[in-house]
């Protein structure tokens, strides 16, 4: 049961990632301008990637 729940949570994270890295959310960040000197698009991709990995680690840890 616990395994199943963990699987479901991770699938949800994967779907979230798929949304984050594709059109149309991605297009919102394809703009000029920078965040702390880093182009918005680069910053967005790496930060959301990192958060996604953090979320996966969290799910794995908390689901036993």
């Amino acid at each position: 049961m616990r395994h199943r729940r963990k699987g479901e949570r991770l699938v949800a994270v994967a779907l979230l990632g798929f949304l984050l890295f594709n059109y149309p959310l991605l297009s919102l960040f394809s703009t000029e301008g920078t965040v702390l000197g880093v182009p918005v698009l680069y910053a967005y991709l790496f930060v959301s990637w990192g958060l996604l990995i953090g979320l996966m680690a969290l799910v794995v840890r908390n689901s036993g």
Binding site: L10, F21, N22, E32, L45, W49, L52, I53, V60
Partner: protein
């Protein structure tokens, strides 16, 4: 300082270290103290995904397309999020069936099909050779560039030299030596190579550190941090295209397809399958790898963009971006760093070469050569020890595959960038996806569907991706791409049927997946699979269920001796004997009396063999020593259907009978209650009519007397009329009380709950009740403490109860010296009111009866009282509704005490709960 001898010495020292680590790893494994059986090593070994493509090619692609290199790493992240569902199932299934390659997996799933296994192997080899050539090309180029120090040249400008002066050849040979040494040392049923895994994990660390060093140097040594690199790059003419999406290779469609492609590749590439599934020591290691491996990819990619942009700014287009990682330190005179980066590139490339060739050689030997050999030369089946043969086949395959890669690289030349070569390979292995994932989750997928989908997908892949890459290398005329074959424009390989708007990889992925998935599903739906397929399908799809015992789809006879000698030919005599002895011991059999093999044992032997020579060959070998009675498809279906149906039916039956029992018990109870209610209703109706008839009869009698005797004296007439009026009142009261009781019982009564001071109620009632006491000259005393908590109740209803109790007390108290006491006491959370009389008392057996309707203790006394017989039932109903209790304590001759309690106002919730409880009960 950077000269050939130095580079060679350092390189060989590094490779020597690699050999040493692998050797140490193997030794530790043999001693039973594994150094790779930990989750972090597992995650690092998965990083074999990061090859020269990542190390050099990503920068090249980033210099071209900005973030266009990223989907290749985002895809695996997403797939690992799905890993707990997908990868864990593949690992579980593979371990249960001793599956050692992806070809084996697909062949096993579809009924151990020789054809399918061979076909997957051929696709894998054809698809992977360009990928291998990519690694050799990267090492060869960077080696040559390093040699030209301090000049920085483009790979295209360097004369590749003669065949034997090419470093690529030697790298290929060293990789072959390593793989043969550590990948094919012995024939193992689990096909695990701990030393190799240790070396690969080490290489993953080296390439990561080397790349980070280069990145740190470029970002913080040559530039003033990230902001500075990006700021200077802003001045580049192509800056907009690099900083934003929408370029030719970074359309949203391309990003989508690249993500999907890499999601598939991370599972389907033979080396990833080998590392993630076959070399997996413990399924639980996935827990850590799920996030650690994506994190590795994230970290190794952080500096890709700074290096790419830094290179563009520094060289202004004079250097091939694929070599920026190396060229930048060289241009800055950092010789040691350049050498370290070169080593990082070597580690990235060799890691891939080693694992990929192990996986491919296992595939070729198990799914291509052995089955063919067993078929073509049946005598091989009777040979002696075949271990040498199998290992020989693998060693030869390793050398051939690596040399093929080298030849491809020499012939294809400089035409393509690293990444585009790699993507061609990704496209090839992606063709396994429908058969593998479909087979893992859908029992309906069958061999015909898998074959049709694979064949069509592979042909389309070759046409839309491989042939165009040949055309670019000049092996095919350029017109093939531009005008289509034979000038048929509709068939242009990169714009099939006139489809435009896709880049070449997305275009190929769209067509191949459309056809592959379509045929796999379509053909599976409209054809019927073979006999063994159904069993295998159930085994794979239901991998997480407990296996059903005794439902082996096999019927036949074999001697244990024959099976043992068969095993011995692949495992060696000692290990074969051991394996069987363990099997026998686990089942409590002694070897001496054990001659006839059962289905279970035959299956066990087949699984053991499958680890060494693949499922397909194992099946052929076992079949050669077993007298098998062939099972028809119908029989297999019957057995499968029967067992699963019988199990399902019996579960269903158990459930049904349990439900029936429960329902019956419920019905019985309901029936009992209904009968009881029916009886009560009958009683009630007959009592009520009886009670109604009494006053009516007397009224009628007196009315008739008055009618018949008009001359009655006036006083007499008045007396009779008074009786009629009294009886009418009694009748009205009776009817009112019946209505009141029915309202109370059905819950339709209206309540006005408020905080009530019981002292007031008692005073009021006592005053009102004095009319009952006066005619009997009985005394009423009230004893109430000074302070009484308020109760939550309906004032009028409580008064109704008290009046009822007082009138009863007045009726029944001693006729001479009647005394009635009302007392109020505070109990724990409740207030108790006692009404005590000094009457004759009530028999114990009557004490509950008096609370029934129309039962009066007067009946027992033979004296008809004036009450209706509903007062006490109504009072009890009211008190219960208010959350209290009403009861009587009495003894014959000792008077009676009627008591009731009411909850204190603060505990109103308790009262509410009590009310609902009463309501439900």
């Amino acid at each position: 300082m950077l000269n050939t001898p130095l580079i060679l010495v350092v390189s060989f020292a590094y490779l020597g270290l690699l050999f040493a680590i692998a050797y140490y790893g193997d030794k530790r494994a043999e001693a039973g103290r594994s150094i790779v059986a930990r989750p972090s090593v597992y995650a690092l070994s998965l990083a074999v995904y990061a090859t020269s493509w990542t190390f050099y090619g990503s920068v090249g692609r980033a210099a071209d397309t900005g973030v266009g290199f990223l989907p290749i790493y985002l895809g695996p992240t997403l797939m690992f999020a799905l890993g707990w569902v997908v990868l864990r199932k593949i690992i579980r299934t593979s371990k249960a069936n001793r599956i050692t390659t992806i070809a084996d997996f697909i062949a096993s799933r579809y009924g151990k099909s020789t054809l399918l296994g061979g076909f997957v192997t051929i696709i894998a080899v054809i698809g992977i050779v360009p990928y291998i050539s990519l690694q050799l090309k990267a090492i060869s180029n960077t080696f040559n560039i390093l040699l030209e120090y301090p000049e920085i040249v483009s790979p295209a400008e360097i004369d590749p030299g003669s065949l034997f002066a090419d470093s690529g050849l030697y790298v290929a040979l060293v990789a072959a030596a390593f793989t043969i040494l550590f990948g094919t040392r012995k024939l193992d049923a689990t096909e695990r190579h701990e030393g190799m895994v240790a070396a690969i994990a080490f290489e993953s660390v080296v390439k990561l550190v080397a790349f980070l060093c280069a990145g740190l140097f470029v970002t913080f040594g040559m530039f003033g941090g990230f902001g500075d690199v990006f700021g200077q790059a802003r001045a580049l003419p192509e800056a907009d295209e690099l900083f934003m999406l929408g370029g030719p290779d970074t359309g949203y469609g391309s990003l989508f397809w690249l993500t999907v492609l890499s999601m598939l590749a991370i599972v389907l590439l033979p080396r990833q399958f080998h590392m993630a599934v076959v070399e997996n020591v413990d399924e639980r290691h996935l827990n850590k790898a799920i996030w650690l491996f994506p994190l590795y990819l994230l970290v190794i990619n952080v500096f890709v963009l700074p290096i790419a942009l830094g290179g563009l700014v520094r060289f202004e287009g004079g250097v091939n971006p694929d070599t920026f990682v190396l060229a930048l330190p060289m241009a800055e005179g950092q010789q040691a760093l350049a050498l370290f980066v070169f080593l990082g590139g070597v580690s990235a490339a060799t890691g891939m070469l080693i694992v990929e060739t192990i996986a491919l050689s296992t595939m070729v030997s198990n799914n291509l050569v052995m089955p063919a050999l067993l078929r073509a030369r049946p005598r091989v089946r009777e040979g002696r020890d075949l271990r040498g043969l199998v290992l020989g086949i693998r060693r030869v395959t390793i050398v051939i595959v690596l040399l093929l890669g080298f030849v491809y690289f020499r012939v294809a030349g400089e035409a393509a960038a690293l990444v585009s070569i790699g993507l061609v390979s990704f496209g090839a292995v992606a063709q396994f996806a429908p058969a593998l994932f479909g087979g893992l989750f859908w029992k309906g997928g069958n061999r015909n569907g898998a074959l049709a989908g694979l064949a069509a997908g592979f042909l389309l892949w070759a046409y839309t991706l491989l042939l165009p890459s040949f055309a670019r290398s000049g092996w095919l005329p350029a017109s093939f791409l531009e005008d289509g074959p034979l000038g048929i424009e509709l068939l242009r390989p990169e714009h099939l049927f006139g489809l435009t708007g896709f880049d070449s990889v997305s275009h190929a992925m769209f067509w191949t997946m459309l056809v592959n998935v379509g045929l796999y599903v379509g053909v599976s739906l409209f054809t019927r699979g073979g006999a063994t397929e159904h069993g295998q399908a159930a085994l794979f799809v239901d991998a997480f269920r407990e296996p059903a015992e005794g439902a082996r789809l096999w019927r036949g006879t074999a001697s244990v001796e024959a099976l043992e000698s068969l095993l011995a030919r692949f495992l060696g005599r000692a290990r074969a004997r051991n394996a069987l002895a363990r099997y026998a011991a686990a089942r409590g059999l002694t070897t001496s009396e054990w001659t006839e093999a059962d289905a279970e044992l035959v299956h066990h032997v087949e699984t053991l063999l499958a680890g060494s020579i693949g499922a397909v060959s194992a099946r052929v070998m076992v079949a050669s020593v077993v007298e098998e009675e062939p099972l028809g498809i119908d029989e297999v279906m019957d057995i499968l259907d029967e067992t699963s149906q019988v199990i399902a039916y019996s579960h269903e039956l158990e459930r049904k009978s349990r439900e029936l029992e429960a329902a019956t018990a419920e019905l019985r109870g309901a029936n009992r209650r209904l009968r009881e209610l029916d009886r009560l209703k009958d009683d009630f109706v007959s009592t009520v009519t009886h009670e109604l008839r009494t006053p009516l009869t007397s009224m009628r009698a007196f009315a008739e007397i008055l009618l018949d005797n008009p001359e009655l004296p006036r006083a007499e007439r008045a007396r009779f009329l008074r009786i009629v009026v009294d009886e009418t009142e009694r009748l009205t009261r009776l009817i009112n009380e019946v209505l009141d009781l029915s309202k109370l019982e059905s819950g339709r009564a209206e309540w006005d709950i408020a905080d009530v001071d019981l002292r007031e109620v008692i005073e009021e009632s006592a005053t009102a009740a004095s009319q009952f006491f006066a005619p009997r000259r009985a005394k009423l005393r009230v004893r109430v403490p000074a302070r009484v908590p308020l109760v939550a109740a309906d004032h009028d209803r409580v008064k109704q109860v008290l009046l009822n109790l007082l009138s009863n007390a007045a009726k029944f108290c001693d006729t001479e010296h009647g005394r009635v006491v009302v007392e109020l006491a505070v109990d724990d959370g409740a207030v108790r009111v006692d009404v005590r009389d000094n009457g004759p008392g009530i028999d114990p057996e009557d004490q509950e009866v008096i609370f029934d309707r129309f039962r009066q203790s007067g009946q027992a006394m033979g004296d008809r009282p004036s009450g209706t017989g509903l007062g006490l039932p109504i009072s009890r109903e009211i008190i219960r509704h208010l959350g209290g209790e009403l009861w009587v304590t009495s003894a014959r001759g000792g008077g009676s005490t009627f008591s009731f309690t009411l909850p204190v106002a603060g505990s109103r919730e308790d009262a509410a709960r009590a009310r609902t409880a009463v309501g439900e009960g």
